[in-house]
């Protein structure tokens, strides 16, 4: 068989085979291996970019500030409700009502501490109903951070009011712990 007439085709075929061979046998495996080795750092870069875009610095700062302020305004634990309850008692007194809190037993890890409240008008409270409504209105304010779950108001024949309420107060520490999980 004569080779010479085939040379114009054999030569480019050989070149093409060499190029393809280099591409498939040398270049592509090398690229694959290098890319595999580089992947962790590249993924780290992508993840960093994602994190950078997920929450802006300003947004994170704002959230931290709001959460901090909220935590500062709340009782820290169910065991340390006294200061908050004391503030409420003083507020009742200002409206000429007498309140007695009975803290309930909070479940472990629960962020809301239950408490019962007995209210009765102080001596000389000649406007018990409007002042009670003022107190109840303050319970419903957002900054109160409490949930009023039960309310019972009674009035006897003589027009004397008494009220009983069940409420729950947000506690910063367990709620933050739950949020961090």
């Amino acid at each position: 068989m004569k080779i010479k007439p085939l040379l114009p085709f054999l030569a480019p075929a050989a070149c093409a085979a060499a190029l393809l061979g280099w591409r498939w046998a040398v270049f592509a495996p090398e690229v694959r291996a290098q890319r595999e080795a580089r992947r962790p750092l590249q993924e780290l870069e992508r993840e960093t970019l994602r994190l950078r875009e997920a929450v802006s610095e300003a947004e994170a700062a704002d959230l931290g500030r709001r959460a901090g302020a909220l935590a500062a305004a709340l009782p820290q634990t169910p065991e340390t409700l006294a200061p908050a309850l004391g503030r409420w008692s003083r507020r009742f007194a200002a409206e000429r009502w007498e309140g007695a809190f009975t803290p309930g037993a909070a479940e472990p890890g629960e962020g809301w501490a239950p408490a019962r409240l007995q209210l009765r008008p102080a001596a000389g409270n000649d406007r018990p109903w409007p002042s009670l409504l003022v107190i109840l209105d303050e319970f419903s304010a957002p900054e109160a951070h409490m949930g009023l779950t039960r309310l019972a108001i009674r009035a006897d024949e003589g027009g004397t009011y008494s009220a009983e309420a069940s409420l729950r107060l947000a506690c910063a520490v367990p709620l933050r712990e739950k949020s961090a999980q």
Binding site: L19, L20, L51, W112, L136, L151, K178
Partner: protein, 470 residues
Amino acid sequence: MSAVLPFLPQAGAGAGPRRGPARGRCLVLAWLAGDFSAAACAHGGLGEAWSAGGRVRALEEFEAALDGARAALGYNGTEVALLLEHERFLHRVEMGPALAPAAARAHLQGRAGRHAEGAVWSAERMAAVRQDAAYVLHLLPGPFHAELEQILRARGLRLSRVLPLSAALLSALDAGEPGRPALAAAETGGVTTVVVGWPGGHLAFTRSFRAGWEGEAPRVSVEINRSLLYAKQQLGATVDRIRLFGAEPAIAEAAARCGENREIVGAPLSLRPLLEAAAALPVSHPANAVGEHRRRRGLRRRLRLGLAAACWALVAALAAAAASDRAAWRAESAAFQGLRARGDALRAEHARLLLRQRAATADRRFIAQVEAGRLPPVAARFPAYVGGLLPANLRLTELRVEWQEGARRWSFHLAGVIRGDEEGGRAAAAALQDKLEHGPLRARAAEGGAALTAQPGGFAFNLGGTLFEN
């Protein structure tokens, strides 16, 4: 076998080979049954002829004669035309059905393919009346053609035309009345070639027979006469012009036998007019045994060149793609080097951002939990709302509202005293119930609705139900 598809003229006397002077320089060789002559042609004019001294029969002798001619004529061109009459250059008449040109070529290819050695061939269509189509096949055996080409190639020459004697004789019939056939006959090396055709080079038929004009003059005249009769029979026209090139005895004999009412011109065979005729015939002449072969070979060469160019273009494309990929990879690697250089800073930033993300998520969850855990102020606002709905004759003694965590709904209970008669009491209770049910709290009273119980001075009143469910 060298497959050659000949140029076939259209059938009929009006469609013959195109004639015209050969362009450029050309060495015209006449190798006719051992006689070898040559002349150089330049710009349509033929120079002086050169003849070999002795007989030239074998290819080795042809080779020597060729060298002698080139030396004598000083020819240094490349094109060679060969007027050939040789025992290996065969001419065969083929009859067949009238076919389209492509089908006719295939038919003739099959016929030529029967040649044992494989032949380079051409075919001239002859005018025929009774047969559907008649061709004269000019067959140049493959090995003979290859040797000829090799001899010429070794000297830097290209064989562009191999023409039979009949083609040159036919061109000698140019002069004359158009539309009237003429006959030409010549003897070369004891073989007589007869051709009948029309001025303009259109072939009616050609034949050859072995007969010398010196010793077999009567037979030559008989065969010429038979050709005339055949022409009359086949063409329906009388051939009245005869050109005879050869020895005097045969010319005289033919004139005696066929000369009545015919114009007969006889002369010794001179190679120069034949050389001129061969020089004037174009490469595309249908009798050219190698014209189509060369054209096909040139086409194949161009195809091969095109294919090779395409292959190299493919290689170039692959190389460009490889270079592009490599450049892209280098750029990617350079970018990665930059990334690697700031790897520590990146890790630190990632850790910081991760902490920031976790802190933000925790803060967001914390705020959301505090918001979600704080119930809507239903219980705190319900007393004021109900107080605004009470009719004047109804006084509440108990108000209860409670969030039922399991059912996730609010329930309420109202108790009181209604003064007045029963009808008024029921109307007051119904009015209160209606306001609660159609008010913003969308209360739904328990089954039975408000209950009234008589007591001294009025009626005890009880109403319970749920909120936000109506």
